[in-house]
Point group: C2
Chain length 254, copies 2
């Protein structure tokens, strides 16, 4: 009989943003697979086994987890944020889709979590208060021209844009290019939010005008939110500025 | 001295998906403002005051909450799901933006939650595993032609589409029209997920082919997720089908 395969999201890293459902999954599992810094967020018992692997080995990790669950072990695959947003749930489904028939019999339980854009948005106001999209800027996973055409399409259509995986050592120029593309479409003073490590002790949330936004303001732990033409800033004396996107668009706005 | 104004999300309704951070906010507040069914999810003490109002009175509710917080009371504004996604955080920011100066001094704390599309996605696999967007179908808040043009833009650009507020008594035809629009762009067998009340006792998650999808499969408690051309289904004997969107797009795919 197969074990359970949990695929959980810890949230962005603040333990108070991890759900009881995710903690219950952790308590029920015996082997844990994930990127080391995400596994570090869990408090495991001495009978629980931790198998950290590199961030770029998602499909291999998914296969090992499925093998172990098919062998009868309760297994937990750990993502930061939400496991369904540019994370392990899709990798596990891909492995099932192309794997042996017995992997389809595994009891797969995906446990949602707070994804980075929601945590960042909460810290600054309500930039995702109107229609929005999430794009991974990693061109390891799709061709760069497709990313460019998607950025143009959603900026022109008035979506707020959350950028995941904005920059890394191996992908240093993509975010700057993304800013160039949307600068041709959106007003210069459109707010751009750099939300780093939201809710964690090393949190840093900054806002720039699109005209001044620089890729160097982001790192691997940053989720970047580019406003729409409707997105507004509220200056507050003695408190951080707020950024929000109104719920309403009037008939004449487009 | 002003009180704190919490704007929290309970998650979609399963208590195990409410974060400790949201519960701590509830414990610290004395007055609660929100749509009745969302307030019903909270367990309040006898010294805590509950002020339910209609779902359509978001801006008025935000103003009252700000008045009370400015008067020194710790107030909690309650959304279902995440407060930043088509919910109260934007209404509160709108009220601050256009309200008296003293509202800008209120200690505003937005607490993120699991938004419906994440909970629905988790129950079916990983449909949001690649680039995706969230659109509110409510044309109370924006002109219908703008919604149509946005649907076309994102379907053509290859985004998975999560539809919030898909249908109501006052808006009976919009979801059917949305299906018509994307049918002209996406393959007939694109998976469409109707995710009703994810994680609650009355949950109902169904999948249709886009060619067969009907608006009558949704109600007010449903989040509809329309796949992209890349989104796949996995048939599983004795278990529900999975739906996922692969993380990769090969060079030749577009």
């Amino acid at each position: 009989m197969s074990g359970r395969l949990y695929v959980i999201g810890t949230g962005p890293g603040n333990p108070r943003q991890t759900t009881p459902e995710a903690l219950a999954a952790v308590a029920d599992a015996h082997e844990f697979y994930g990127y080391g810094p995400y596994l570090d967020r869990l408090t495991l018992r001495s009978d629980q086994i931790r198998q950290a692997s590199d961030n770029r080995e998602e499909l291999d990790r998914a296969k090992v987890a499925l093998q172990r669950a098919a062998a009868g072990i309760n297994v937990c695959v750990v993502s930061g944020g939400d496991p369904g947003v540019f994370a392990m749930a899709a990798a596990v489904c891909e492995a099932i889709d192309h794997g042996p028939a017995e992997w389809r019999t595994v009891d797969l339980i995906v446990v949602p979590g707070i994804t980075a854009m929601l945590a960042v948005a909460a810290r600054i106001g309500a930039p995702l208060g109107h229609d929005f999209c999430a794009i991974s800027l990693s061109d390891n996973l799709k061709p760069w021209p497709l990313i460019e055409s998607r950025l143009r399409a959603v900026a022109e259509a008035g979506f707020v844009i959350a950028l995941y995986n904005p920059i890394s050592k191996a992908r240093p120029w993509q975010l700057g290019k993304a800013f160039e593309i949307v600068r041709d479409i959106l007003p210069t003073d459109t707010p751009v939010i750099f939300g780093r490590a939201a809710g964690r002790p090393d949190e840093r949330i900054t806002v720039a005008r699109l005209g001044d936004a620089e890729a160097s303001q982001a790192d691997m732990a940053t989720c970047v939110i580019i406003g729409s033409a409707e997105t507004r800033m509220i200056a507050r004396e003695g408190r951080p500025d707020l950024v929000y996107t109104p719920r309403f668009i009037k008939e004449e706005a487009k």
